[in-house]
């Protein structure tokens, strides 16, 4: 009796799953193909691994069995790596691994915030620029030219110096210098897509500018922005570390990676680990995001898809 009921429920569930699979067979095929492309590229797998590991570690940081990242213990200062302190301790006796893991939260947050702000600003300005063209286009593109005329980091330094030190100002400074690339990308995409017949067709049934831009053009160029944003994450984290290194970013006692490298450089000839290990963390993170971005570009590319 109970067995029968169980079997009925099971059959019912099976039927439901089958029906769903049948209705969504194209979507399922597409996801499978995407996974295949992902697996095929070893480097993007490595990149995804690094990024996922970083995100997991940074999310779990408060629950890991770590030391207090801010607790001073001058007796233990500048201990070399050991089982007790896997990455050694710094000049104030703080555990470097603990600080690096807490620092990963800062770096990822800076990266995510900056990329989100910059890509949103760039996306909207670029779409408007490419879609409306003429004077608006001219104005926005000359503005991006001004930004491209300076090296990114130099401009970010100037903005950060003007705003004053602090993590929020660092994010603002980097966002201000990174939006133009998104604007250029979105504009190029919009120029291409706006001449498609379905855009004309949408207009011919009475779609307004907003509807045309955000429903018909935006989805077609989103992949460009996603790839660029992923590639940019590494760069942004690097720039944030750079600004902190020269004192324009995070302030002590923050466990920001660039700041840790900076603080350790007085001891580098005797105690290499204080500066080197946070530096390695920066390199691995930047590399991870770049590999992932490269992989995503290949996966989104229509030429590899069909």
């Amino acid at each position: 009796m109970g067995d029968d009921m169980f079997r009925n429920v099971k059959n019912e569930a099976q039927r439901f799953v089958d029906k769903w699979a049948e209705e969504h067979r194209y979507q399922i095929q597409d996801v499978k193909f995407t996974m295949y492309l992902w697996r095929r590229s070893r480097l993007s797998l490595v990149g995804s691994g690094i990024v996922v590991a970083l995100i997991v570690v940074s999310l779990l940081a408060p629950h890991l069995p770590l030391y207090d990242p801010f607790e001073l213990n001058v007796q233990n200062r500048l201990l070399p790596p050991s089982w007790e302190h896997l990455c050694g301790t710094d000049q104030l006796g703080r555990d470097i691994l603990t600080r690096m893991i807490n620092g990963s939260r800062i770096s990822l947050m800076i990266g995510a915030m900056v990329v989100t702000i910059a890509s949103l600003i760039g996306l909207v300005l670029g779409l408007v620029s490419g879609y409306f063209g003429r004077k608006i286009d001219e104005a926005i593109m000359r503005l991006t030219d001004m930004f491209f005329a300076f090296p990114r980091l130099v401009l970010a330094m100037a903005v950060a110096a003007a705003l004053g030190p602090g993590i929020n100002n660092t994010m603002l400074a980097i966002a201000v210098v990174s939006w133009p690339i998104y604007a250029r990308l979105a504009r190029a995409g919009a120029l291409q897509v706006k001449n498609e017949i379905y855009v004309e067709a949408a207009k011919s049934i009475g779609a307004g500018h907003m509807r045309t831009l955000f429903l018909h053009i935006l989805p077609m160029i989103l992949h460009l922005i996603i790839v660029q944003a992923t590639l940019d994450m590494g760069g942004v984290i690097l720039e944030a570390a750079g600004l902190s290194f020269i004192g324009l970013g995070a302030q002590p006692p923050s466990p920001e990676w660039g700041l840790m490298v900076s603080e350790g450089r007085h001891y580098i000839h005797m105690n290499w680990w204080v500066s080197t290990l946070p530096g390695v963390a920066i390199v691995i993170t930047a590399l991870g995001f770049n590999l992932l971005g490269d992989g995503l570009r290949d996966i989104f590319d229509v030429r590899t898809r069909r």
Binding site: Y26, R134, E200, L215
Partner: protein
Amino acid sequence: MSEELLTVRNLVTHFYTYRGIVKALEGVDLTVDRREVIGLVGETGSGKSVTALSIMRLIEPPGKIIGGEVIFDGRDLLKLSDEEMRRVRGKEISMIFQEPTLALNPVLTIGLQIQEAIETQDIRKEDTEKLATVMLEKVGLPDPERMFKNYPHELSGGMAQRAMIAMALSMKPKLLIADEPTSSLDVTVQAQILDLMKKLVEEIGASVLYITHNLGVAAEICDKIAVMYTGNIVEFSDVLMMFEEPLHPYTQGLLNAIPKLGHDLYTIGGEVPDLVNPPTGCRFHPRCQEALDICSKAKPQLIEVKKGHLVACHLLKY
């Protein structure tokens, strides 16, 4: 209510290109009465599509509408604000295109796109889904509920064109502009689509401006035909009159050029002139076998030579 739905007077559209000004329309005159199907025929590059887009005011830079009037239902469309014009599109005039699979957005479902066509016209959201499904059923798509969730690439060309027709007619427009809607479909499907269009258009009482280069198709569904050459209407008359007694040498050439079994293919000599530097006088005179002296000097006006038969040709005056 007047009989005339759309009156185009002296419509001029130019494209500003690197090579110079392309005079795509040089003063088009056209009248579409209510519930009438007008065929607009002509060679590639004669300005058929530009006429359609100019009426819809969808000419993008470097193109520009220079002048003329497009009187639709008593209003000059060229004088409306952009927002007013947007409300005309879809609701009063809508359009279907040559390549149905390219005219549908590849990332949105069919249902959503039809729903969207309805939504642009301030209809309550809850009603749009029902209305869209009804439209899909009307155009004869099997299993409309499932079709609603399909993407354009899952449809064949004929099905996609049916979906486009559903979209274009969902707001019951007064005028449907069809820009070679069957050219990219195979012949059997063409006939089905033509029948469907005719039926639905009669049902909602719309007029049609049917653009084609296929005289056979035009003869089958149109009440009147306008022949275009290099941005000018050269002849405008009833379908029967046009086929029985074409008066303009260009129209005569076109009709002769329809392939007939057992005869060599007739061709009109020469080629379509460059629209940056069109010939003087009658634009057709370099290719016209009966050209007179005056043909290269003065441009003939479109005049009514018989009741309901307008021709722009000097030959008929002498």
